[in-house]
Symmetry: C2
Subunit: 349 residues, 2 copies
């Protein structure tokens, strides 16, 4: 709870979005441009390292690795290293590690959640089956560690192996709290800190490590990544109920159909009357859902200000992420990383 | 194929079983006694390291880690280190790593193969569900890397991360060749070298590394473990069709029901007539199986000497494993590791 409270305070103190009102996607484009050559090298390394004599591995990996993802996490590693004045090439390999760990998690998450679509394409799971998704995820996870071993830093290995364990803990806790409307906000925060924020924090922290910067900068980049990751996930959980998403042609209601207990639901449940709580228990605990239930869930969430307050909470964490960058002098990299806070909060899915 | 041919030659040259004709289980008991205190320390570390604030993780892990497995792989690490004259304690942590990687693989394999039973108990998958098995496997895998980082040897990390990638490749290749009666013996060997022998080889090799022994001993222990692992898996694949297993109250026919293409099947298929090959295609490729099909498969395998020849092949690899130990002077540890070759070949499941 302390982390949350301090983030809330930071949120009121710091600017919630960078000046200029640029559209959310522009910030991502700006960051991508800034580390253009590094990202190209990272993408080459990713393609090279997912090769295997077992042809199904690159086939399946290509489907998810090369499916046009934003590469947000490796971008953070690349930019964090540059922010720290790093002039070498180690950050490229570590950015690829971070993307491999993320991809392995996605593959295992697809198995877990029986989700049919990811980024609007058929999921690897639906195309190749559960078995292959689990095993190729394992391969990519092992490859990530091989890349770290090649890099040769035990400190980096410690950070990313701890992040991997924390991600798994977050995913298991999410599974345990699924379909349980009595889940507390503290448990929900523990889930998203694990499943999302831990890798964001590790991704940015290793930028300071390759640059051999003092521990204060390491911790600042960790705090930036962690708060950014929480904000990112809060927004993701809000967008799953946002009517605007439907107008953009994006899927909504995935979390609802799976019975995931996210902050918009927790807030609406806590603020609802007994009749409404019975609705949430029927749809999310007993998983008895009719056609009209998703619109009803969206209406309840809207009525109780649960979406508005989830976004406000995300802005609070975004503010904490911005504040963490304060130890670094102004630079193009710092501006780009500040822009990413706005991107994570204002983006469509 | 070279490895296989040289193993065959070694098999005719070296003794297939240690003198004394001791029963198979006795060799395992002897090895366990020899490293008794180390194994106890390893078991304590395993229990300690599988803890997590997320209660389902130790619950599920306990089901498989503490289910009374033989601990064969960590025993190999402990004995190999002692064989090399190692007097420290690092081998205990690395033995725990090896067991965690093995356990993670079992958990993911349970998901993959929808197997209902493992070691006669309900599988973690059947009890806790696919989702939890995948994620707790991920947790144990990450913990294994954290333990390696604590150990601090990049050389060990390189060996075990490469083994982890090779295991995943072997498992994916098994998936690709499943239900395909045109699978070649070379492909089958690649599968079992990946899914089983790679971890045996890494488990024994790290014994030489913690003891800082010359590369010749490292390679000897690698060869011992690799050949032992292949022999172990060949026997496992033979036992799945062995009538004696049924008399011992063990399950048979798991591989048959899943359509796994193992050496007994490959040999019987190659030696069978067109009518018999149609039987194998119907049962393993089209997966159309009736009650009487398993007994029929067993009869065909017996008639063509496929079980006998699979065991002979295992003895060949066992001979190569014994020969690899030749670089070490006689010792209680060497005798115990020689005994394990006999155990792997003569054991019931």
């Amino acid at each position: 709870m302390d982390a949350y409270l301090s983030a809330e305070r930071a949120g009121t103190a710091a600017a919630a979005a960078p000046p200029g009102g640029a559209k959310a996607e522009d910030a991502l484009v700006a960051l991508t441009h800034l580390v253009d050559a590094d990202l190209a090298a990272c993408n080459r390394l990713i393609l090279e390292q997912m090769q295997s004599p077992v042809a199904l591995i690159p086939q399946l990996a290509a489907h998810i690795v090369a499916a046009g993802g934003k590469r947000l996490r490796p971008l953070l590693t690349l930019a964090a290293a540059r922010l720290c004045g790093y002039a070498g090439a180690r950050h490229v390999g570590l950015a690829a590690c971070v993307e491999f760990i993320h991809t392995a998690t996605l593959l295992h998450d697809d198995v877990v959640d029986e989700s049919a679509l990811r980024r609007g394409q058929a999921s690897a799971n639906a195309l190749f089956g559960n078995k292959a998704s689990v095993l190729v995820g394992d391969f990519l996870f092992a490859r990530a560690f091989q890349l770290m071993v090649d890099d040769g830093s035990l400190k980096v290995l410690a950070i990313l192996s701890r992040a991997a364990a924390t991600i798994a803990e977050g995913e298991v806790l999410q599974l345990v709290t699924q379909n349980d409307t009595e889940t507390t906000e503290a448990q929900y925060l523990q889930v998203i800190e694990g499943k999302t924020a831990a890798l964001f924090a590790a991704a940015t922290r290793v930028g300071a490590i390759v640059a051999s910067r003092p521990v204060a900068e390491e911790e600042a980049l960790d705090a930036y990544g962690r708060n950014l990751g929480i904000a990112f996930q809060l927004v993701d959980d809000a967008l799953d109920y946002a009517a605007e998403q439907e107008q953009l042609g994006k899927t909504v209601g995935d979390d609802f159909r799976e019975g995931k207990i996210t902050l918009p639901v927790l807030l609406a449940y806590a603020r609802g009357n007994e009749h409404e709580r019975a609705f949430w228990r029927r749809t999310l605990e007993q998983r008895e859902q009719a056609e009209t239930d998703l619109p009803e869930a969206q209406a309840l969430i809207l009525r109780h200000g649960a979406l508005r307050d989830t976004f406000a909470r995300a802005r609070g964490y975004g503010g904490a992420a911005l504040a963490a960058l304060g130890v670094f002098p102004p630079s193009a990299e710092r501006r780009a990383l500040e822009g990413i806070v706005a991107f994570c909060i204002e983006r469509a899915r």
